[in-house]
């Protein structure tokens, strides 16, 4: 929250495409990116006489996600029809869940490692299953040419996760989306690709503005078309400012205007009013007579709960408390996904140095993955190999800058740390030899001794430089420590 003259109040409706092989009510493939209208059948085309049969996997994935979001799963849930006409909705209704959703009342905790906001618990109203619509492509010159309709996506299972209006800034909304995406990735229930539309977000936004006559609320606006984390943040920021300006101009408050829908235009970086429909929406929800209710027992719910893996929040906690990582390091590693966490855990176990392992994973390993644009699964250096390098650091045989050079060669050659060290001609300097060298340098540099004695330990840096000139293989850290020890004993 900034020092702005208002509070932003944000609730998010997130649509998640579930990772099933087939659609929610028919057995057409859900694969993304195939030629238009090649993944349809009488059911998802809404052909006369066709009937839906529910995908058990979709229900399972929905339940798993809802449980991970701390939702309550009722024993009984049913299907309803949401009636409206649109050419990407061939039946003329969307099969969804209205008054008895499959889950209710959960939450997701968000926090910022950069102190952008106070830790917050975002409560979740409900998460329910519904079918996706197809895609309509409109001509630029609106109204002139036909719209083109592709029904491949029609019927893909969606989980709609609706939050309470608990977020108070665009950054929080973005953090919620990121944390939700991470959770979904850990659960392996969705591809979570915002560009491909497998994770979509609509935001309900309004402002609470303190005035002399008490607090007022601006009319709620739903923002659509935010297809990246950045656009979530920017769209909401823009909309808040816009609402404030409009309020200052018109004075209109909540209840005086109907709920408005605005689309985020990413290229223009503005929200635009979406054309008002001819009539106010009246979806005429009623129970779908073609689908029977779903009944689950408490035992079945517990069985699903058991399949939930360790979630990001718990993992961060564990990396801090059990492995001694900093909040920041734990956060960076966990946010990269389960793969990097597993890499870290293995590296920590083999290297027997949690902190060093954490720093290397968060540092060199992650940098390399980003540079090469690969995932940790595609990373060709095993934790065992990397542990070999860390051992050399631990023993003082390599300083960190040399270790980085060795790491780079290991990456290219696939060789072990020891082999690379040999090839690079990095020799281990004998401890006695090193001590002799340090004594000689101290004798030649009385001034450094005086400086150190007077409390300026940094002065010892001059000796490290000279030592490296004498013998390129010395470990600067070791030189520093030995020199300091000798001087202090003098």
């Amino acid at each position: 929250m900034s020092d702005a003259a208002y509070d932003i109040v944000i609730g998010l409706e997130v649509h998640v495409q579930l990772k099933t092989n087939t659609k929610l009510f028919c057995r057409c493939s859900t694969e993304f990116g195939n030629p238009p209208n090649t993944q349809t059948c009488p059911v998802c085309l809404g052909m006369p006489g066709s009937l839906p049969v529910m995908n058990s996997k979709a229900y399972f994935l929905g339940m798993k996600t809802a449980l991970a979001l701390n939702c309550r799963i009722p024993n009984y849930t049913k299907w309803d029809r949401k009636n409206y006409f649109y050419p990407d909705l061939p039946k003329g209704y969307q099969t969804s869940q209205f008054d008895l959703p499959m889950s209710e009342e959960g939450y997701l905790d968000i926090k910022s490692t950069k102190d952008e906001f106070e830790p917050r618990r975002v409560r979740i109203i409900r998460a329910h299953l519904e079918e996706d619509a197809g895609k309509s492509m409109h001509d630029e010159a609106a109204g002139r040419a036909d719209s083109r309709i592709d029904l491949n996506r029609t019927g893909t299972p969606l989980l709609e996760i609706v939050s309470y209006p608990d977020m108070r800034s665009a950054v929080e909304a973005k953090a919620y989306m990121q944390e939700l995406r991470l959770l979904l990735t850990y659960l392996d229930v969705s591809d979570c690709n915002m560009q491909e539309g497998s994770l979509r977000c609509d935001a309900n936004v309004n402002l609470h503005i303190p005035t002399d006559d008490g607090m007022i609320a601006t009319p709620i606006v739903e923002i659509k078309n935010m297809n990246s984390f950045r656009s979530v943040e920017r769209g909401i920021t823009y909309e808040a400012k816009r609402q404030y300006d409009v309020w200052k101009e018109t004075g209109k408050v909540l209840g005086e205007l109907p709920k408005q829908t605005r689309g985020w235009d990413d290229s223009a970086q503005v929200t635009r009013s979406q054309r008002e429909k001819e009539e106010s929406a009246d979806y005429r929800y009623f129970p779908c007579p073609d689908l029977v209710p779903v009944v689950v027992t408490d035992e079945q719910i517990e069985e699903v709960r058991k399949e939930i893996v360790e979630l990001p929040a718990m993992l961060r906690e564990r990396l801090e408390s059990d492995f001694g990582l900093t909040t920041y390091t734990a956060d960076v590693i966990v946010n990269q996904g389960r793969g990097l966490v597993d890499y870290f855990l293995k590296l920590a176990a083999v290297s027997e140095d949690n902190k060093l392992a954490g720093n290397w994973v968060q540092g060199e390993v992650l940098r390399t993955l980003n540079e090469l644009e690969i995932t940790v699964d595609e990373f060709n250096m095993s934790p065992e190999q990397l542990a070999g390098l860390l051992k050399l650091i631990q023993s003082g045989d390599l300083d960190s800058s040399k270790a980085k050079s060795v790491f780079a060669v290991m990456l290219e050659s696939g060789k072990s740390a020891a082999d690379v060290v040999d090839e690079m001609g990095i020799e281990k300097v004998d401890q006695g030899e090193l001590e002799d060298l340090c004594r000689q340098l101290i004798e030649r540099n009385q001034r450094v001794v005086d400086d150190v004695k007077s409390g300026n330990e940094k002065a010892v840096g001059a000796l490290i430089g000279q030592a490296k000139k004498e013998n390129p293989n010395v470990n600067p850290g070791q030189v520093r420590q030995i020199c300091l020890d000798i001087i202090n004993d003098m």
Binding site: G49, P52, V53, N83, F85, P87, G143, E278, F286
Partner: protein, 500 residues
């Protein structure tokens, strides 16, 4: 007696013994259709070529000693509401005039697997909405017993073609009485199975929670034979029930002992035609003479059946028929016309919405539009509780009435309709009068129970009268056996109309 006058069961025996071939039988029916259907109008399309080809194929299979299905070689007529792959399936509507589904309804698959010969598609009220078959977008169907009268509906073609010996068996659908009422008015046997007994996959929906497919035939054993093929669990229909199908055709001849029949006094109140009342009462007496005991029972909420039905069915229909919008299949209003109108009136309605409205107003007939309007209204904001929810609650009360009744009696016996077949056009301009045609039949659909209509007499004018038996869910076997008992004791089913 010519071959087409015989029952399907008799024809099957002749086919099996080799006395006739399927090709001969099919040909005989095609000739009959040719001769009389111009007066009756039972068929929308006769599929002579494919029927004969299928008949020849089955004859060849039989000759080769291959195993054959239960209906091997028997012609069957199909109501034009059941999807058949790459074959026009119009549902009696302009909207689907050029629609050929890319798939088969499950019952069509069942018929083909049973080696039936599909003769053609029978006429119906558009989207099964109506009780007279006058609402067909193509042509009306006339009652074979008096061609100035209607055959009932919506399965009017299905009943008329059996009654006029144009098909030994036919498949209809029943949402509020659409099998039983035309069966009664045309003097044949029609069974509305328990909801969930026959797969609805490929049945073009009118009201999904009420629709059921069932057989129409000249005799009870024929209905049993066809029912055996139609019934069964289907994983493609979530509302289909997975319980075994009894061998109806084998047990149908066994009389029931200790049969208790319930009579609802109310059925014989005001408004029932005296000739129907007396025929049904006589039928009850016949059952008594066959050893059945008769018990007076109450269905306290039956009077609310029509009101309940005319909320629930239109609500479901308004949603089921939303798909006919000209976007993906079926009729679409002329685009040039739509755009011209757009240029003319300058209202803010966009081209798509205009296309939708024009398409639907041109593609649907008046009755269909009326029901879509009613359903849309009853589901709309502010009215849902007063109409739809209220109707759902009364539906529960009606079901409970049946549950309580079936604790006391095996079946309920009564009339199918209050009046015999009425004159064409008589009720066409009075929708409420038409709706009341379903008075005795809708409650079975609302409750989901089974019901059968069978001939029990004729009026002085020679119009058939139907008797209705209703049984608890999945008691079709008993229902058929009880109906057969009556048929064995009477000869109403043997009479055939003279088509003028």
């Amino acid at each position: 007696m010519s071959i087409i006058q015989k029952s399907a069961t008799e024809q099957l025996a002749l086919l099996q013994s080799g006395e006739i071939t399927s090709a001969e039988l099919t040909q005989a029916y095609l000739e009959r259709i040719n001769a009389v259907d111009t007066s009756v109008g039972a068929f929308l399309r006769v599929e002579s070529e494919t029927a004969l080809a299928q008949a020849v194929k089955i004859d060849r299979k039989r000759k080769a000693g291959e195993s054959l299905g239960k209906l091997a070689g028997l012609p069957v007529a199909i109501k034009d509401i059941l999807c058949t792959i790459n074959t026009p399936t119009t549902c009696g509507s302009r909207m689907l005039e050029n629609f050929a589904p890319p798939y088969n309804a499950t019952v069509v698959e069942n018929l083909l697997a049973a080696d039936a010969v599909i003769l053609g598609r029978t006429n119906m009220d558009e989207f099964a909405m109506g009780s007279s078959t006058e609402n067909s977008a193509y042509h009306p169907t006339y009652n074979p017993w008096d061609t100035s009268r209607i055959p009932g509906g919506s399965s009017g073609g299905a009943a008329a073609c059996v009654s006029a010996d144009m098909a030994p068996l036919s498949v209809g659908t029943d949402t509020g009485g659409s099998i039983r009422q035309p069966a009664a008015l045309c003097g044949c046997v029609g069974l509305k199975p328990t909801y969930g007994r026959v797969s609805r996959y490929g049945l073009i929906a009118f009201a999904s929670s009420l629709d059921q497919i069932g057989p129409l035939a000249k005799t009870v054993e024929d209905a049993a034979l066809l029912m055996e093929v139609l019934a069964g669990y289907d994983p493609l229909d979530s509302t289909s029930v997975n319980i075994p199908v009894p061998a109806y055709s084998e047990s149908v001849g066994k009389p029931l002992e200790n049969l208790t029949l319930g009579v609802v006094e109310h059925h014989f109140g005001e408004g029932i035609d005296p000739e129907i009342e007396s025929a049904v009462k006589q039928a009850i007496a016949i059952y008594e003479s066959l050893g059945a005991s008769i018990k007076n029972i109450e269905l306290p909420h039956a009077d609310y059946g029509i009101a309940t039905y005319y909320i629930i069915a239109p609500c479901e229909a308004s949603s089921n028929l939303a798909r006919y919008d000209g976007a993906h299949y079926g009729y679409r209003a002329d685009q040039a016309e739509v755009l011209a109108e757009l240029a003319e009136d300058g209202s803010d309605e966009g081209p798509l919405v205009r296309m939708y409205r024009k398409t639907r107003s041109q593609g649907f007939g008046a009755e269909v539009q009326r029901r879509i309007m009613l359903g849309t209204y009853a589901l709309s904001e502010g009215y849902y509780d007063a109409f739809y929810l209220k109707a759902q609650k009364v539906r529960r009360l009606i079901r409970k009435d049946y549950d309580q009744a079936f604790e006391q009696v095996d079946m309920i016996i009564g009339p199918v309709t209050a009046n015999p077949a009425f004159a064409k056009g008589e009720k066409a301009s009075d929708p409420m009068a038409m709706y009341l045609e379903d008075l005795y039949t809708v409650t079975a659909n609302l409750a989901g129970v089974a019901g059968i209509s069978l001939p029990c007499g004729f009026t002085e004018n020679g119009l058939p009268i139907g008797l209705q038996l209703q049984a608890a869910p999945f008691q079709e076997e008993k229902l058929l056996r009880a109906a057969q008992m009556f048929q064995n004791a009477t000869d109403f089913h043997t009479r055939r109309p003279e088509i003028s």
